[in-house]
């Protein structure tokens, strides 16, 4: 128990650390309580994505054709809420309630990443879904989401093969 607590506090596992963990056979498991908390956060996020109509193919298409304001509104309000909340805790220098530091460092700007962003945008429009909403679609009973999920897995794997040294970025 002590070991799992200690290791679960490490903010970010670099490749080297994972290798060390494997060699030393150190358990990197999360405690059951925090594990359930993360599942609950996933449930909440999926629930609100579904309520936002972000899991609907036609909504994504109407957003990109500027026929519907719905999803621009959802993303805009979500950004404002997060920005305002983080600004307040930062402004009054309150530590987070968990006592853990936030991963603040932004991902460094690299022009080549915008190519990836264009590819993602094209995929977003073609499939009418993004990585979070497609998993939620599966729960809604939209069977065909499974093919998009498999594709995303292959795409992530292919990138890892192409750029094996790329770190798992903070934004991911």
């Amino acid at each position: 128990m002590a070991i799992t607590r200690k290791t679960s506090k490490t903010p970010r596992k670099s490749i080297e650390m994972v290798v060390v963990a494997k060699k030393k056979k150190v358990s990197t498991a999360l405690s059951t309580g925090s594990l359930l908390a993360y599942v609950l956060f996933g449930v909440l996020f999926g629930y609100f994505l579904s309520k936002a109509r972000a899991t609907d193919y036609d909504s994504i298409i109407d957003m990109f054709m500027f026929k519907e304001f719905q999803l621009y509104g959802v993303i805009g309000v979500a950004i404002l809420v997060v920005a305002a909340g983080l600004f307040l805790t930062h402004r009054f220098k309150k530590p987070t309630l968990s006592g853990k530091a936030l991963d603040w460092e932004p991902v460094a700007f690299e022009p080549s990443r915008l190519i990836g962003a264009f590819l993602f945008g094209a995929g977003w429009a073609l499939a009418g879904t993004c990585p979070g909403t497609v998993l939620t679609q599966l729960g809604e009973g939209k069977v065909f989401a499974i093919f998009t999920i498999l594709g995303i897995g292959v795409g992530v794997w292919a990138f890892q093969k192409w750029q094996p040294k790329a770190a798992n970025d903070n934004n991911c």
């Binding site: 999926g46 629930y47 987070t96 968990s98 962003a117 990585p131 890892q160 991911c172």
Partner: protein, 161 residues
């Protein structure tokens, strides 16, 4: 009775106004930061899930987080839940063929996964968290997401259809 039925439908079947749903998503992301000290992001869950399948057995909070997403989808629609093979206007685009639809979604998924990983995040990590944190990379990536989406959608539904 009518009132409670309406509440039930709104909780477990209907979709919501953008402002209400947006506040919900924002508060979830905020709570994840405040209570757990984590930055919202879904693509990382796919990355970690992949690394478990391929070799290293690191356990990650992101895998547990994305496991909750389908459950959220069930909860949001449980009042009118059913399996469906339909996929909105995509059905007309693939002439109703399930094989074409499966292949279409699989290939689009590869673009999504590869692109999100390259861009350093998807809609949740870059467009919501990254932009809220004022990251230049995330703001430019989000503009690129939307630009590509607008171009592709308008070619598909205006030029082709």
């Amino acid at each position: 009775m009518n009132f409670f039925h309406q509440v039930y439908l709104n909780l477990f079947a209907n979709t919501w106004h953008w402002a209400v749903a947006g506040v919900g998503i924002g508060l979830t992301a905020l709570a994840l930061a405040w209570f757990m000290g984590k930055r919202l992001g879904v693509t990382g869950g796919f990355v970690d899930a992949c690394s478990i399948v391929t070799s290293s057995a690191s356990s990650s909070w992101k895998i547990w987080f994305i496991l909750g997403l389908p459950l959220g989808g069930v909860l949001a629609t449980i009042g009118a839940w059913s399996w469906t093979l339909t996929y909105g206007r995509l059905d007309a685009l693939v002439y109703g063929s399930i094989w074409l639809k499966a292949g279409w979604l699989f290939l689009s998924g590869i673009l999504i996964g590869f692109g999100a990983r390259w861009a350093g995040g998807c809609t949740s990590g870059n467009s919501i968290m990254g932009v809220a944190l004022g990251s230049k990379m995330s703001i430019l990536a989000t503009l690129a997401f939307i630009a590509a989406g607008v171009i592709v959608t308008n070619i598909l539904f205006k030029a082709v259809m």
